[in-house]
Amino acid sequence: MDKSPILDVEKLNIRFNTPVGEVHAVRDVSFTMGREKLAIVGESGSGKSQTGRAILGLTPGKVTADKLAFRGQSLLGLNAQQWREIRGKRIAMVMQDPKYSLNPVMTIGDQLLEAARGIKEGAEARQHALGMLASVRIRDPERVYRAWPHELSGGMGQRAMIAMMLMAEPELLIADEPTSALDVTVRLQVLAILDDLVKTRHMGLIFISHDLNLVRTFCDRVLVMYAGQVLERLNAGELEQAKHPYTRGLLACPPEIDHRRQRLPVLQRDPSWMEPVQ
């Protein structure tokens, strides 16, 4: 199996021009990833979503980087035609709420076919689509194929979304809070599907989330972001040994069922966390 990194990011910066001045949303973010499950964790405003979008060239901000390469190919300064070759086909993205990411005026089947346009046609495409729906553990692929998005529950919709994104068999999947809008049991079932697909297809998965406790059980490695920077990077199993006070704070503050406390520890934000990381 190919062990070389599929994504190489070096000093990624994203800046936005706003009426109140320039906002430096992502600052000098660097990381590499192979065919593994990498989590990017942070709270709102940490820059995690923008980082994910920058990999697909979908951020409205200004992207600069020393290096932003996917399997050796640079993703900087690509034109529309080159992006079309990559988006959906080699790198795909699943977003948070299928209510907003599925086209409400097209059936699921039509959207699946559209995702495979240029790669598979006609009956072959239809078979592939049905196979895809089965691989996301939808019990009645024919029915869902014919269904409209509003007829599906949250979990079904998200599974259909994943199926759609995998139609072109990409090598890297970026999931931006894919389970945050789902119920707890459904959430884990969808994660199991993602886990399965990533393993069988040798894909890389970037899992963007605000839930550190969820990703520590699901992903292989974790990047913790704050105010646009990566503050700490760890293996998921080693989160207990996290050194940075922000990471430790994030781990300590959610209420735990097994270990109840009178008061929850509150994160003391240290202004030095905003300083550039060495």
Partner: protein, 259 residues
């Protein structure tokens, strides 16, 4: 005496073929000063119960009483001083065109208080917001600050019961800790009774002494927070919920049943 008494509460929407029974004959009671939890996934009916208790939905059947007063479809104004609510979405529960001052003083004006200014300032202080926030608009506040204003608004009429509808679901985890601590402190200092609705077992275990686990409009199990933390749940669905809250575990997921 019980503070909140609910017996055989049923709520349905729509008619005929489109009829949805959101709440099916639910009963529970809450003692004064207690914090009671309603846990469930989406469609369980927990928020529907809360809204009916708040008086936002007049179409219910059964028996509901707060502080001994029987509730009817119509709510007299005085009852507003008894029970208040904090909503889930901090972005949607404050009027975008009203300042914090207006949001807090309006309930006071409606009920004819004269020391409005002093009460507004006291309310802001109580939730940890300084006077600097008084004339800001909601879009100038962060999520956590908005939720604090929502809490201040809920407390400004000095209610005995506060209904909390997923009060921290939309907040970052570090802000959630601050807001939950604030709610705990307020309950102790002001002797309030809470009914907290959440899908997050961790939040409910932290905030509540007793809870009802709900599924598709019915109460599946009533448990104490201790039962939760020691894993002493009886119903299979409750146990599944508890396991799911612990995080990703392939074997556990494989064992999930369809309820």
């Amino acid at each position: 005496m019980t503070m909140i008494e609910i017996e055989n509460l049923s709520i349905s929407f729509g008619h005929g073929a489109d009829r949805v029974d959101a709440v099916k004959s639910v009963s529970f009671s809450v003692a004064p000063g207690e914090s009671y939890g309603l846990v469930g996934e989406s469609g369980s009916g927990k928020s529907t119960i809360l809204r009916a208790l708040a008086g936002l939905n007049p179409f219910w059947s059964g028996h509901m009483a707060i502080a001994g007063q029987k509730l009817t479809a119509k709510r007299p104004r005085e009852l507003r001083r008894l029970v208040q609510m904090v909503f889930q979405d901090p972005f949607g529960s404050l009027h975008p065109k009203h300042t914090v001052d207006r949001i807090l003083s309006e309930p006071l004006t409606i009920h004819g208080f004269d020391d409005v200014e002093m009460r507004v300032r006291a309310a802001l202080e109580r939730v940890g917001l300084g006077p600097a926030f008084r004339f800001r608009y909601p879009h100038q506040l962060s999520g956590g600050q908005r939720q604090r204003v929502a809490i201040a608004r809920a407390l400004i009429l000095e209610p005995k019961v506060v209904l909390l509808d997923e009060p921290t679901s939309a907040l970052d985890v570090s802000i959630q800790a601050e807001v939950l601590n604030l709610l705990t402190d307020l309950r102790q200092h002001l002797g309030l009774t809470y009914v907290l609705v959440s899908h997050d077992l961790g939040v409910v275990a932290h905030m509540c002494a007793r809870l009802s686990i709900m599924r598709t409009g019915e109460v599946v199990e009533i448990a104490s927070a201790d039962d939760l933390s020691e894993g002493r749940l009886l119903h299979a669905y409750s146990r599944q919920l508890l396991v799911a809250s612990r995080g990703y575990d392939t074997q556990a997921i494989a064992a999930f049943g369809d309820f």
